[in-house]
Amino acid sequence: MARLMLVAFDPSEVALGHGFASALGIPFDVLLLSGADPAEIGAERTLAANLGDVPPADSIEDGVVAQLGGYSHIASVSSMRSKDHLPRWAAHLGAAMVTDVIVVEAENRFRRPIVAGSMIETVEVSGSPIVMTFRPSGFAKFSPNGTAAADSITIPITDRTRRVGASARGGARPDLTAAKVIVSGGRPLKDAETFERVIGGFADSVHGAAGATRAAVDSHIAPNELQVGQTGKIVAPDLYIAAGVSGSTQHMAGIKDSKTIVAVNIDPDAPIFENADLGMVGDLFVVLPELQAKLAGKF
């Protein structure tokens, strides 16, 4: 019998999984690895492991896999974390894995981007189970109704790999993958202080997230975790404002699911104008403050 185990690393991923589970069209359960209070999304059963900080991949592999027996499909939202963990579970189970599913065509047939998002391949998987990560932007959004009752389970942790340090960006801005508005900057932002003031300030005024190009990250203008693109975060906000972003293939691959893309660039020939819904040729240091003032309080 076909049955999906949706593995959520934290509660925010539970609701994101609903659209995917519906697209697959089979009964499903949820395994919530950390955090409490999962949303009610129609799962038949919710298991909560309460791991707190999810430990390194090899430390929980055996414990997670022990919960996966009997499922034909195992899936998580695409993230660096799920990409770290899920291939281990797949190999442990001798299962095929499909990364970054964007369309479910059948229970064993999926579409996914390849070659830096320049092409889409359709794959057919034989055997069971099938392990997958999926991009939530490809599936319907869902407002959870109520709270699911979760059964507590214990996932044993081995301590072979020690986490000896961690730094998180923190702050009040929404996560790039969840933000409704993203303001993104490239190398013309000059330095970290200017980036934070111009891009960060704009993001705060529209309750959005700040993003950056790979060039900006490589020049230490913006921190790594803000990198948007095929090699960084894949985003799909309602509004993506790209300021001083030329529009490289790999950057565009990360933003193409945005509903509206606005480009502000001083170079009228910047490739981003070919892919932007709205483009304005101009100096971002002049345009952005004016736009910020006129959009303030609207989001």
Partner: protein
Amino acid sequence: MKIMVTVKRVIDPYAKVRPLSDGSGVDTTGVKFDANPFDEIAVEEAVRQKEKNPVIEIVAVSLGGTECEEQLRKALAMGADKAVLIESSENYDTLAVAEEFVALVKAESPDLVLMGKQSTDGDNNQVGQMMAALLGWPQATFASKLELADGTARVTRETDTGEETLEMNLPAIVTTDLRLNEPRYIALPGIIKARSKPLEKRPPSSTATSRVKTVKVEAVPARSAGKKVGSVDELVAELSARGLF
């Protein structure tokens, strides 16, 4: 101490590529091939570790047809000591690739496997983690810094929200991200020296399997160029007309 690095032959990541007209795959006519850029970062890291600790031996490995020799020679030119090509023209899915490399790990007994986090053609990001699971080894993916000491590895890795540092006993698998290093330019003496370094070919350890089959490849529909606006007021009006606020 021995480091194994994987080197995949991929379509030149900077080339414009299209699907074949019948959608059966990627059109590689006239397209150059190169080593997967993330694997080059892995080779570079191995060479830098060897520069700090000359007793390190580096073996570069690949899976594919004879043409993969070209990419293995590149790894040798960068500073790998020897290369092994598992020669096969069959299709392998990620797990089958992991199984072949695991067989090679058992034969070569490296203390560390360094590899790209993903290849720039398939974009799967699976093989390293699968190998680690099959071997029962610890892993650190998305590495941005690697320190080796006394049978342990200390790896700083990128995460969704920032970075973290893991400490693990060797043997282990580390997959590389962009910011680990910048691969060196290969100078002519390296290329010449690489020609005389050993490159061994061996058959696959088992029959190729592919549980994942590509049945169609198509181009992404291009987003069409939108409207150019002349003022911020016009921009705000357009955003409002689109129901954004």
